[in-house]
Symmetry: none
Subunit: 104 residues, 2 copies
Amino acid sequence: MIGDRIKELREKKGLTLTELADLAGVSKSYLSHIERKLQNNPSLQMLSKISVPLETKVQYLLTDQQAPKEDVFDEEWMALLHKAIEDGMSKEDFVRLSERIRMQ
Amino acid sequence: MIGDRIKELREKKGLTLTELADLAGVSKSYLSHIERKLQNNPSLQMLSKISVPLETKVQYLLTDQQAPKEDVFDEEWMALLHKAIEDGMSKEDFVRLSERIRMQ
DNA sequence: CTTTTTTGTTTTTTATAACGAACATAAGAA
DNA sequence: TTCTTATGTTCGTTATAAAAAACAAAAAAG
């Protein structure tokens, strides 16, 4: 549910509800309602505003963290992989290092 | 913009505006407004309803029409990443790992 | 051709998202 | 202790998302 996701990201950033509301330019009353799921139908613009101080994208607000298997390759993963490849990571590099990390 | 995206997917599926509205359970008047961008602030529930007959996800409605993810990376990359994730690699792990590769 | 049905648009109305202000509660400072 | 100050909640209102209905234009059927 979107309310849980927002609260989770907000607290991960160490922001209070009031702080996030101010930074995002939305009312804290409504943010409170959303987080407690008294309302759970925010608009795109609302989500877009909130995503800025949370330093994320609207899409990521919608992905729940216990992603089902088919959802493993969400947009965020794709972005990360894309950037790594651009930075010069080869498949061999990846295999080598990921195995080493797994072993330790 | 979301209206263009919806119209694009609707037409790709060969659906009329009225058909999509009926299938999704939303009013055609509002759908018309959204597609023509007279309104461009739909709610999550609205997008969720529309995503069903369009056979897509809300997240994908929000992504602009770049190449779908399957086309960006090849099968081998997908398999490698999939395996690594199954072995417990988190996004944070991946970022650390790719930074190390970049540094070497 | 005329009539009917399909398409999307415009208008009007209703429901509710979202706001601002008042409020409660607790934590910290005096 | 009492007085602020920071936090989130509840209340009352406003703005607007979304529906329903009426409409226009075209396409298809007769």
